[in-house]
Amino acid sequence: MAEAALHVEGLTRAYGARVVVDDLHLTVEQGDVYGFLGPNGAGKTTAMRCMLGLIRKDAGQVRFFGESDPVRARRFVGAIIETPAFHPWMSGLRNLQQAAAYAGLSGAGARAEIDRVLARVGLAERARDRAGTYSLGMKQRLAIARALLGGPRILLLDEPTNGLDPRGMREMRELIRSLALHDRITIFVSSHLLAEVQAICNRVGIIQEGTLRAEGRVDALLGEGLDVDVVELGSPDPEALEGIVAGIDGADVLGPGRSGRLLVRVGAGLARDAFVAELVARGARLDAVVPTERNLEDVFLEVTA
């Protein structure tokens, strides 16, 4: 059996008395596009920094492709942690030349590799411009190019779509998907954008308070909650409707849905038609009942509730 691309065992890190990453265990198999999810402050970035050796871990072990020595293990890894930083007075090309030296590339091999990654992210034409003049989307692509230097087997991406406009987000999503599919690079990506993660990831782990709360294949996690129904309810009097829903056992208001409708979870043991009949019986005025497909957001909210 192939070594796991990333295997984290008992990773722990505390700042004083505050334990930010608490006995974290997770496994990313080769070929996975793994979404690392969690609310703000859940410990995602701290965990990723520990994995890369940027910050010390108090306990635990991190192995990339079976290698636990941090320096040797990082030969497998390309990474973008939070907002990528560049030397703004240097061109994109010079920034990559710097990074190529640190990736162990030199001479003609380095030049060929830089050309390859620039072409891969579509930045070849702007490579000689100063990095300080790049848009955020271009900086993210340059960061991907830098992470790709040396042909890593796994990419660790921390919020790679942060701050991008919709077009930039889409380009980044397609690039990540393509890197996984065509370049056969294992991807480990943290994100707040659950729809994005659902669109590109085959497996996810959900972290809360430094501990992994759920991990598995996206389709399996979505299937786990099939006994739970989520519907959108429309009403000319949403406040009254919210009060009525709150009074029914097995039903919870999740929050606002689309077009001013109310997003409601109908739990196991309560059929949707029986629920609607109960609403009407209690005097609710309904003008829409829209079944919704269970998505990663539902899973996330359930796990982190």
Binding site: A2, G31, I55, F65, E67, W89, Y102, G104, G150
Partner: protein
């Protein structure tokens, strides 16, 4: 799918990293300004000396015992260049370069991008320190390369050139230690402003101490005269002697800064202090660098 280290690039060599760091330093405006400053001194001093000589020659002094302006020689003028460069001009530029390339890289988070690579922190620090020393060496070689031929053409003569070169070499050795001390402070403080302020504070305190000790030494008779009626002269003698004995161990002596009021040669204690301060600075920098969390 399988992965093995043999199909990946090797970890970078120290030489390759030094090359990359030197290239990065060379592109920094603070480095260019620093080299421009010493180049201007190297060119400006011989030119000014020539102009002064010509002005004095055009109006010969009346007295026969007036100094002969033509007595200036290449080694003397190059010595002026080295002295002027040593009046904290170049070391101020080293401070600026260290502040932006060590603390500055923490703040800008560009250091993080180096540390996610397959290279140990000790190697990263060694590469950055060696690159800094390339700048320090260039800061001495450049003025020599410019000033020696210029002063040679203007004034000629080689007598005493060995002494001038020895003084330049000592100043360069001092620069190596100074750069290392400032680097340690910069890594410890991890703030550009803090580095400049911290170094300035250390320098001011050290100078105050040095001048105080010098004052005690020069006015020892007066001090003893004041203390004797109080019966303190014998009790305080070992302390005062100890303070005076510290003089050659101070960083300003170790790094070759001019000792106030004297032109005395370095004593062995200053060489020892240089080794101790420089070595301790590097070790402190390495210890901190290997332990710090990098955001």
């Amino acid at each position: 799918m399988s992965a093995s280290l043999s199909t990946l690039p090797p970890s970078p060599t120290l030489g390759a990293l030094v090359g990359a760091e030197v290239a990065k330093l060379a592109s920094r405006s603070s480095v260019r300004l620093g080299l421009l400053a010493v180049a201007m001194i190297a060119v400006g001093v011989p030119l000014l000396a020539l102009l002064a000589t010509q002005a004095v020659s055009a109006t010969p002094p009346a007295g026969s015992d007036a100094p002969d302006p033509t007595a200036l020689s290449m080694p003397t003028v190059v010595g002026f260049v080295i002295s002027l460069r040593g009046l904290f001009v170049f070391r101020a530029t080293v401070l600026a370069v260290v502040a932006v390339s060590f603390a500055g890289e923490f703040v800008a988070r560009t250091l993080r991008e180096d540390l996610v690579r397959p290279v140990s922190r000790a190697t990263v620090l060694a590469a950055k320190w060696l690159a800094l020393q390339v700048y320090v060496a260039a800061g001495m070689l450049l003025p020599l390369v410019l000033a020696v031929p210029l002063a040679g053409v203007f004034f000629g003569g080689t007598e005493g050139f060995a002494v001038t070169l020895r003084s330049a070499a000592l100043q360069w050795v001092g620069d190596v230690g100074w750069a290392t001390l400032v680097m340690a402070l910069s890594i410890g403080l991890r703030s550009v402003v803090g580095t400049v302020g911290g170094v300035f504070l250390v320098w001011v305190l050290e100078q105050l101490f040095v001048w105080a000790v010098w004052g005690i030494e020069q006015l020892r008779v007066v001090v003893d005269g004041v203390l004797k009626p109080m019966g303190l002269d014998q009790a305080l003698k070992p302390i005062l002697d100890g303070l005076v004995a510290l003089r050659p161990w101070m960083p300003s002596a170790a790094f070759g800064l001019t000792w106030p009021g004297t032109g005395e040669t370095l004593v062995w204690q200053s060489y020892a202090a240089f080794v101790v301060i420089t070595g301790a600075s590097y070790l402190a920098a390495l210890t901190i660098f290997q332990r710090i969390d990098v955001d």
